[in-house]
Symmetry: C2
Subunit: 396 residues, 2 copies
């Protein structure tokens, strides 16, 4: 089973095995130089003219097309901007307007909290008696009833890596007349997604995880093309206007998904992301997925052989699992700190999960085997059982 020949495209520190690309992807080579040149040669030399000459204004749509390719979305259906929280708010507000007679938003307890917080805030702002239901992930399908206005789920659970049945959930949502929103935060660049085949109305996601866009990289938003021009954009900012530079006093939504743009795009972040996406040239998501499954399976096998104290929190079957593997242990926080001290970077998620992301663009079998060995050593030698590693600090 060959490794993907992409590791040389990343600038990884010596002596580090990075299993946290599911939280923040590493620096692709060329991005630091591109950022410097964006500042020096575009901002510095072109000044205000950069909006046209360096095509900053078109960047949110141009980068949207690069991401569209990775999630099975057609040209012109994805645009970049803001943060995932903001994009969740936009799609949820738009979706609720499409079902004014229904009051239930269905999500799950495995969703990333900000999605739930944004929904809660929207419900309170609207003040129209909407209700947010959050069953356990495995009970979502049964909870999709004709009361439901919108089903809003993150495809891959951030704690466990558990994957929802992408096709079946959308089918069921549509069968009862609900609008479907997928959060692809842990999917884009990790698992094959075909938005066109899926048929969901909306998708959102972030670009600093498997897409390696850098800390605080902008979010993406997809609207199904056949409805894009009927959707009323919540957060109707000037760059979602049909003619932003007419400076009309009245808002008229722009064409297709571009109406979901809000304010001035973060050019420096967008440029880092655009450069970072070059590592995907010529790759298919099926290749990436095949390697990610192989690496995840290898890790589980090697860890379970060495660390009987750890409980697999992720689904055992690779088809039900995204590109991460989580183990449970009472002192997971301290274990993660001890691993980092030995050069293996994973992360901790409350209350007791250690998470490891597998991103075959820059990880190979040697890395994965070595990481499992080191985890075995940390557990065998009780590295983690020291006050320094057990101190609770802020964990990101």
């Amino acid at each position: 089973m060959p490794n993907l020949p992409r590791k040389h495209l990343f600038d990884l520190p010596e002596g580090v095995i990075y299993l946290d690309g599911n939280s923040l992807g590493p620096l692709p080579r060329g991005v630091a130089e591109r950022l410097e040149s964006c500042a020096r040669d575009e901002w510095g030399r072109m000044l205000i003219r950069g909006w046209n000459e360096a095509q900053w204004m078109d960047q949110p749509a141009r980068v949207g097309n690069l991401i569209g390719r990775l999630i099975g979305a057609p040209e012109g259906s994805v645009v970049l901007g803001d943060t995932l929280s903001i994009k969740v708010y936009q799609v949820l507000a738009s979706a609720l307007e499409m079902r004014p007679d229904r009051k239930v938003i269905l999500s799950d307890k495995g969703n990333f909290p900000t999605d739930l917080y944004m929904a809660d805030g929207l419900i309170r702002s609207l003040g129209r008696g909407h209700e947010l239901r959050t069953p356990a992930p495995e009970n979502v399908a049964d909870a999709i009833t004709e009361e439901v206005a919108v089903v809003m789920l993150t495809q891959v659970d951030y704690r466990t890596g558990r994957m929802h049945d992408f096709e079946a959930i959308t089918r069921k949502a549509h069968a009862v007349g609900a609008v479907m929103i997928w959060d692809l935060a842990h999917s884009a660049g990790a698992v094959p997604v075909d938005m066109t085949a899926n048929g969901a109305e909306f998708a959102v996601g972030c670009t600093y995880k498997y897409l390696n866009g850098g800390p605080g990289a902008p979010a993406f938003i997809y609207v199904r093309p056949d409805i894009a021009e009927t959707v009323r954009p919540a957060l109707s900012g000037w760059l979602g206007h049909e003619a932003p530079f007419a400076f009309d006093l009245d808002y008229r939504p722009g064409r297709a998904v571009e109406r979901m743009r809000v304010g001035t795009p973060p050019v420096l972040q967008m440029t880092a992301l655009e450069e970072a996406l070059k590592v995907w040239d010529g790759l298919t998501m099926d290749e990436v997925r095949a390697r990610s499954v192989a690496l995840s399976e290898l890790f589980i096998r090697e860890v379970e052989a060495r660390c009987p104290e750890l409980t697999l929190l992720s689904p055992r079957g690779p088809g039900a699992r995204g590109s991460q593997v989580s183990f449970g242990f009472a002192d997971s926080y301290a274990v993660v700190q001890a691993l980092i001290a030995r050069g293996v970077i994973g992360d901790f998620r409350a209350p007791d999960a250690m998470r490891f992301g597998f991103t075959p663009l820059y990880l190979d079998e040697g890395d994965v085997t070595r990481a499992a060995e080191i985890l075995g050593e940390v557990m065998a030698e009780r590295d983690w059982d020291t006050p320094a590693f057990k101190a609770r600090g802020r964990v990101t």
Copy 2:
């Protein structure tokens, strides 16, 4: 009258006189290198640990304090993030909740359109019969009545530079029981502002104009400290949560203005901004204002002596004018193109304004006199009256 000794802190192109810092400030020296090192040494080397080790997580509040100093806001009352459009939405939604019995939002026709668009979108989402009133700027004070829930104004008019009476408007708003929101987009770094003395509940602004934060730099938001912990944040994202990394399912607003944070901060943009703000070390806004008035007065005098065809659109009295000067002319668009071709960069705002921003950090009397001479040549030689300069392209 001495020039401010700051020009050497900017990396301006040879042969350019830049009078568009009111739209996009130029590149301060050191920012391109700082960006490159943020990518290479922080993101690249620290990876996920950058959130703590490089203090990315605290950056929105840390940079908020730097900006707070320039707008008379105390420590801990300003935070950075998102775009100005998003921040307008947040303060307006919060303000409306503070006056549930009133239905009128008062702004003016001189406000930047995105502020009006965001208000319009919020009104439509709420569906509770709010009304947006937009009188002419000079009629705003008279329109502040007891029907008004919120007065939301941009202090300096983006087209004309006309300044509202900052103190009197806030006093009148408070006298009738309305909440006051100031948009400081064209004020921060341009005119002295004292939020504490003013007493307005909220202020927002952007950082890519007079604060030179770079294209797409994040916005700032100020909440008056005595009410900050009673304000319910609209757009309740995880980084505004009291304990983001507890990953609770329920939202609890964070302390003070930090509750107005939403999603993951744009670290690369924040870092460029933080570095760019170093040019303000040791300067007071009163010094900057005195120089900006002197330069603006000089420009008006020199242009009016040379260009009788142009009409001053800005207030003549410097006390009623921000840090920009606008002239009206039927073919302003073409004149601006012709000026750019001769190295003087101003900009055009529909329908007929040419705008010139005066930012004494990097402009001196020689620049201003030379710019007026070139404008005189463009008008005298009818440079602008050519098809190339008259063609309408996108203007930013």
